[in-house]
């Protein structure tokens, strides 16, 4: 009954790397689905290629091209500076230690826009990413986590460009950097993780409930209002401050201002942000993996 030893291609060169490891089983999965890190590692280049595609394609057929990566934050800064800084008069309300260092409102506002745009793109584009890639989901297998993750990757590249512009602007205003600037890479990582966590959750929710396509823009604009993006949010009442700290972006934006401009660190806020991002990430991964098996059927 047992087939004789396979002999049709004795001269075939063995491919040991993939041959002995690549046996797998397909069966319905129930409950918790583990994340296959080995597989993610195998496909790691795909994450790079998807990110690279997003970056490349984004400014195609625009007259200004890549300049948009610079113009978008700059335009935001100008608008915020005019409306919040000048018209609403928040320029005089920025934290005292920044006023002492003669930090212009434009820089204060820019330091908030920097992480905020990364996060907002993550929530906005990341949330729609799976639905936008449904032809991929229904036709080919690859780790689906990379779809929202690559959106964050592309947004991170824009943020790095925007950070470079910020540094140039600092030099123009003759503002010397402070030593905590070394924490900026870590803060960028934290912001990316927050955005990734939201993108995981929202993208898988959007696949099932298309309502989120309409909810997400609303969510983003509301979230911006409760985050100190364009104006200093520093209430005198302690309990309001604690309430605001529940927003993970509150701690992150303040930390960016501390690292870039020398604002006093709000450590409780940052710790809360860290814990929340960790929680959101775990939940995002869990929910994504849980619904992932149905993506192809309902996308």
């Amino acid at each position: 009954m047992e087939a004789p030893p396979q002999t049709p291609s004795p001269a075939q060169t063995p491919e040991p790397a993939s041959d002995n490891t690549a046996e797998f089983e397909i069966r319905p999965q129930r409950g918790w689905v583990a994340i296959d890190f080995k597989e993610l590692f195998h496909y790691r280049e795909l994450l790079f290629f998807l990110t690279w595609r997003d970056v490349k394609v984004r400014y195609k057929q625009t007259v200004l091209g890549f300049a948009w990566a610079i113009l978008q934050p700059v335009m935001n800064v100008i608008i915020q500076t005019v409306i919040f800084g000048t018209v609403a008069g928040f320029a005089s309300k920025i934290p005292i230690e920044l006023q002492v260092r003669k930090i212009p409102y434009a820089l204060f506002s820019y330091a908030g826009i920097l992480p905020w745009m990364l996060f907002a793109v993550g929530v906005g584009s990341g949330g729609n990413s799976l639905v936008n890639q449904q032809n991929l989901l229904t036709k080919v297998y690859f780790p689906r986590l990379f779809v929202p993750a690559s959106v964050i990757g592309a947004a991170l590249i824009d943020t790095l460009i925007s950070l470079a512009v910020f540094l140039v602007l600092m030099a123009c205003y003759h503002v010397a950097p402070v030593w905590p600037i070394v924490f900026v890479p870590l803060l960028l990582l934290l912001t990316s993780l927050a955005a990734t966590a939201m993108a995981f959750t929202l993208s898988s929710l959007t696949v099932t409930y298309r309502d989120f396509r309409f909810l997400i823009p609303f969510m983003v604009s509301t979230w911006q209002l409760i985050s100190p993006v364009g104006y200093p949010l520093d209430p005198h009442r302690q309990w309001i401050r604690w309430l605001l700290r529940l927003n993970p972006m509150y701690g992150i934006i303040n930390a960016f201002r501390s690292a870039l401009l020398g604002q006093h660190w709000d450590f409780p806020g940052l710790v809360i942000s860290l814990a929340e991002v960790a929680g959101l990430l775990i939940f995002g991964l869990y929910y994504f993996k849980k619904t992932e098996r149905r993506f192809a059927d309902i996308a």
């Binding site: 087939a3 069966r27 309902i298």
Partner: protein
């Protein structure tokens, strides 16, 4: 050790609601939860009533040996694509399991992941990565891929400017140069021109025979299946009807498609265009007769639902033998330049003075097409019977040996 793929009792159930209405809204879920929380809970636990469920696959089991080329056949909706999707890990089975040994690559669609704005070169890398190749691997095979696709000159042009032929060639070339142990291919041979199809087929053959890899292959092209496959699986309504030697399975499949009783073509699975739909196709015997005989006259009648004015349309009907060979194809383009149809229900008749076919049953494919693209095409639309008549006037029996076409001759000695 010999089995590369072991499929054991795979079933796949779709919620009809989910299919008909591809996504449900949050409100539906909330409303359903509010209205009947217990029913919903039970439904989620998988014990709900069976209504509204559609089993695309039911208890499918078979094995594929390593180095074998296996074909999967069945009519549209038989579950072929669902099976391939499960084996490619795109979707999950509802029940059962499958074991695959070796790296799997699947090609369910040509050009998945191609981005129109990116150049040919960029798309080769992107598509390769999506299919699971590493960059070094793509680097190594890049020249070969480009040569196979014959698109060297346009490598740095965005693919949105490619002709559809070029696009497909490049896309297939990338996939064809994957080196998986198991290759899963869905109907890709249906694309591209004749020349390229031949090339694709050659490539699949090489992958299977030369390199000893396993190929799982869905096609409606029975000729290709007979040539390429060692064995075949015939799926019918989600279950395995037959597994065995390719020729035998193809024969069985072709035979089984004869029992076409329902003449209403609208119920057939297909993807009609919005321009014109074939509703009915019938063969009408000559006046006063009940049958069509060999060498006798016959009229073929199309009933069409024309939705948009059509100019230069071509109507055609093809006779296939019971074992699936195209015997004769007739269409309006051959004798009449083009048919103009105004919207509404239209009947078009074609009279054949002498139908040169041997007695027997023929399976008809019918189509309406414009110059370039089909508006509607129904495979196995109906079966027609041609009765015996003494065509040659000698009373001689006709054997398979004499083929399917009748023709009068004059002999001189």
């Amino acid at each position: 050790m010999a089995a590369a793929i072991t499929i054991d009792g795979i079933s796949k159930c779709y919620q009809i609601g989910l299919r008909a209405q591809p996504y449900h809204t949050l409100r539906d879920t909330i409303m359903a939860a509010v209205k009947s929380p217990f029913k919903r809970l039970r439904g989620m636990a998988g014990n709900g009533p069976d209504q509204g469920k559609f089993w695309a696959l039911k208890d499918v089991s078979f094995e594929v040996e390593r180095g074998e080329v296996i074909g999967i056949i069945g009519r549209n909706g038989a579950g072929k694509s669902t099976l391939l999707k499960i084996l490619s890990r795109i979707t999950e089975p509802t029940e059962g399991c499958a074991k695959l040994k070796g790296r799997v690559a699947s090609l369910l669609e040509v050009g998945t992941g191609f981005h129109p704005e990116l150049t040919g070169r960029e798309n080769v890398y992107l598509n390769g990565a999506i299919l699971g190749m590493h960059k070094v691997e793509i680097d190594r095979k890049f020249d070969e891929i480009v040569a196979f696709a014959e698109t060297e000159k346009f490598l740095d042009t965005p693919v949105k400017y490619y002709s559809s032929g070029m696009y497909v060639r490049l896309a297939f070339a990338v996939a064809a140069h994957l080196e998986p142990e198991i290759l899963i291919v869905d109907e890709v041979l249906a694309v591209g021109d004749q020349e390229f199809q031949k090339k694709c087929m050659g490539r699949i053959q090489k992958v299977a025979q030369g390199d000893g890899r396993t190929v799982l292959f869905v096609s409606h092209n029975m000729g290709a299946l007979r040539r390429l496959c060692d064995r075949a699986v015939y799926l019918r309504n989600g279950t395995v009807e037959m597994v065995g030697e390719a020729n035998a399975v193809v024969d069985t499949y072709m035979n089984s498609t004869i029992g076409v009783e329902d003449l209403n073509l609208l119920t057939r699975p297909r993807f009609p265009s919005l321009v014109a739909t074939l509703e009915r196709f019938t063969m009408v015997p000559p006046l006063g007769k009940e049958t069509v005989v060999s060498g006798g006259p016959a009229t073929f009648e199309f009933l069409l639902d024309v939705k948009e004015p059509v100019q230069n349309a071509c109507l055609g009907f093809m006779f296939n033998s019971e074992i699936g060979y195209r015997v004769l194809g007739l269409n309006s383009r051959l004798e009449l330049r083009g048919i103009t149809l105004s919207p509404g229900k239209r009947t078009v008749r074609c009279r054949v003075d002498s139908l040169p076919l041997k007695p027997g049953r023929y399976i008809m494919d019918v189509e309406i097409r414009s110059h370039a693209k089909p508006y509607d095409y129904v495979e196995h639309a109906t079966a027609v019977d041609v009765e015996f008549d003494d065509f040659y006037g000698t009373g001689e029996m006709l054997w398979n040996y004499e083929g399917s076409i009748l023709h009068r001759t004059t002999w001189e000695t």
